[in-house]
Symmetry: C2
C-alpha cells in the first residue's frame, strides 16, 4: 500500500486510542499545541474526567477511526500491549489509509503485530521515555513530555512522510526525538529501563528480609534503589515480559558482574565492580547529546543516516522536510 | 576499667576526631546544641574552612585528647576505618578515662579494634544514617542529622552511662536513636546500604555497555538506580569491604532472587520477582517506627530490652535516665 502523499501532509489531526497516563497526556499536549485531537477509550469510567475537562473523547472506536480516516489523522495507539492487536484490527477495517504510531514501551513486538496485519507501510513506532508511578486521567499532564526523549523508529521500509508526522507530534509535545531501529530500542531499554526494575525488586526483597530493624535503618540508597518497585506489578510485568529476549541479555550481564563481585568479595575486595561501576556512572553523567542536522527524510540514505546518528547520541530537535505537515 | 560515674555525668563537652562530612557536621550540630565542642583533623588543609568559620579546631591530637581527658568529654571517632586504630592508640595514652564513641559505618570491626586496646568498658558505637555524595568542610551541615536515625550499639557489657551520653549526642543532633547490637547493625546495613551500592554499580555497567543510545534513553529509573554509583570509589570500597561478611550474605540473597528470575524469564515471566519485590517495597513504605519508652539505662535487663525493641522497629526519642548528663 502506498499512501497518497498529499493526503497525509495536509492534516495535523491526531486520534489517540487509549487514554491512560501516556495517551491522556498526549491528548492534552497535542491540544495545547493547537492540533485537532480526539480520543477513544474502551471504558467509559476512564474518560469521564477527560470529558468533564472538555476534551473530545468517547467510547465508540468505529466513530473515532472513521473520523481519523476522513481527516487523515495520525492514529496514536496508547493501549497496553495485550490490547494492541484488537485495535490494529479495527484500524485496518475503519481507517484503511491513515498513518499509525504507538507509544508502547517495547517496539519489536508491536512492529511484528503491525506487519502481521499488513499495516507496516503506514506505521512508525514511537516511545516517549516519560511517566510517573501514578495512573489515570488525574495523573495526566500536558507537560509530561517536555524535554523528554521520544524514540521514533527507523526500521527498514519506513515511510519518510509517516516518520515526519510521528516525529512532529513528539516535537509538538515538547520532546526531542531519538531515531532508532525497533530491536536496538528494545535492547537499549532492557538495559536502562527494564533491568532497573528487576534490580529494584531484588533489592526490596533482600531489604525487607532484614525485618523492621533493616527497614528502620533504610535511608536514601535503599529508598532510591527500590523506588520503581512501588510501580504496579501488572505494569512492570507487562513491560519486562514484553521485552523478555533483550532483558535476558541485560540480566545475564548484570549477573555476570555480580557473580564476579561475589567471588572478589571472598577476598574482601569490591574493587573491580566499584571501579567499573563508578566509571560507567561517570559516562552516563558526562553523556552529551548532539543535534542531528542536515538529514532530510525521504532523501537517499536518510533512514540509515538518522539511525547511525541516534546510535551515536544524536537527537532531532526540528524537522527538515520538503513536505511540512 | 570502671569509670567514676560522677566524672562522666557532669560533662557535656564533645571532642570530634576527624572533620570530614560526618565529623564536621557533628561539630557544627553539637555547637548549635550549646555544647562545648572542639575538633581535630590530621591534615591542616581540611580544617582551614572550620577555623575560618570560628570553630575550635586543630591538628594537635595530643592537645585535643588531653583536653578531652581534663573535661571528661565524649570523644567521637569520625576518621575512616583504616585510621581508627592509630586514633584508639592515642586515646588510650592521652585520654585514659573519657567515654568514646565513633561514627564509622560498620560496627563489629570497630568494636573489635576497641576491645583489642582494652577500651571496651568506656566505648559505645554509633552510626548516624545520614550523608551526601559530597565531602569536605563546605559540604558539612549542622542539620544533616535532623530526623535521621542514629544507631547506638547495645553489645554485651555496655556501660549504661556511656550509652546515655552517646544517645544524648545523637538526640542533640536531631536524630532518633535505634539501639542494636553491632553484628545486627552490620547485617542490616549490608542489606539496606551496602547491597544498594553493589546493585547500582552493576546497573551502571550494564547501562553504559549499551553505548550512547542506551545512555541517551536513560530516564528516572536508571538515574535513581545508579545514583550511589557516583559516590567516591574509595568510600564505597571502604564501606563495603569493611562489612564483607554480612555483605556476602546479602549479595547471595540478591543473586538467588535474580538467578531464579532469570530462569522464570526463560518462560517469559517475571511474576515471582515482581510480586515479591512489590510486596517488599510496600512493607518498607508501610514500616512504622514506634517510640521506645519505659526503659531506663542501668536498670536490670535494660540492654536486652532496648535491643529487642530496636529489632521490632523501636526508636528512642528521649532519654529516661536517673543520671542526666
Amino acid at each position: 500500500m502506498h499512501l497518497c502523499q498529499s493526503d497525509r501532509v495536509t492534516s495535523s489531526s491526531v486520534c489517540v486510542l487509549g487514554l491512560g497516563l501516556i495517551g491522556g497526556s498526549i491528548l492534552r499536549a497535542a491540544h495545547d499545541a493547537g492540533r485537532p485531537v480526539w480520543g477513544w477509550n474502551r471504558s467509559a469510567d476512564s474518560i469521564s474526567g477527560a470529558a468533564a475537562d472538555g476534551y473530545d473523547v468517547g467510547t465508540d472506536l468505529t466513530a473515532a477511526l472513521t473520523r481519523a480516516s476522513d481527516e487523515n489523522a495520525l492514529i496514536v495507539i496508547a493501549v497496553p500491549m495485550p490490547a494492541v492487536d484488537s485495535v490494529l484490527s479495527a484500524i485496518a477495517e475503519h481507517a484503511p489509509t491513515a498513518p499509525i504510531t504507538d507509544v508502547v514501551s517495547v517496539k519489536a513486538e508491536v512492529a511484528a503485530a503491525v506487519a502481521a496485519r499488513g499495516l507496516q507501510d503506514r506505521y512508525v513506532g514511537g516511545h516517549p521515555m516519560a511517566g510517573t508511578n501514578h495512573s489515570g486521567w488525574s495523573a495526566t499532564d500536558p507537560t509530561l513530555f517536555v524535554d523528554a526523549v521520544w524514540v521514533v523508529t527507523t526500521d527498514p521500509g519506513v515511510d519518510a512522510d509517516v516518520w515526519v508526522r510521528v516525529a512532529r507530534l513528539a516535537l509538538d509535545c515538547g520532546s526531542v526525538v531519538i531515531p532508532a531501529e525497533s530491536v536496538e530500542h528494545d535492547r537499549a531499554v532492557a538495559r536502562i529501563s527494564h533491568l532497573p526494575h528487576l534490580l529494584a525488586e531484588a533489592l526490596a526483597i533482600v531489604g525487607a528480609a532484614g525485618g523492621p530493624l533493616a527497614l528502620g535503618l533504610a535511608a536514601g540508597s535503599f529508598r532510591d534503589g527500590t523506588r520503581v518497585a512501588s510501580s504496579s506489578p501488572n505494569l512492570v510485568r507487562a513491560m519486562t515480559e514484553g521485552n523478555a529476549a533483550a532483558l535476558r541479555t541485560a540480566l545475564d550481564e548484570a549477573l555476570q558482574a555480580l557473580i564476579a563481585a561475589r567471588e572478589e568479595l571472598d577476598q574482601n575486595s569490591t574493587r573491580t565492580l566499584v571501579d567499573d561501576g563508578h566509571a560507567a556512572r561517570m559516562q552516563y553523567e558526562q553523556h552529551q547529546r548532539f543535534d542531528i542536522t542536515g538529514i532530510t527524510p525521504g532523501e537517499p540514505g536518510w533512514r540509515e543516516a538518522l539511525q547511525d546518528a541516534g546510535r551515536r547520541g544524536g537527537v532531532v530537535r526540528q524537522i527538515l522536510s520538503a513536505n511540512p505537515g
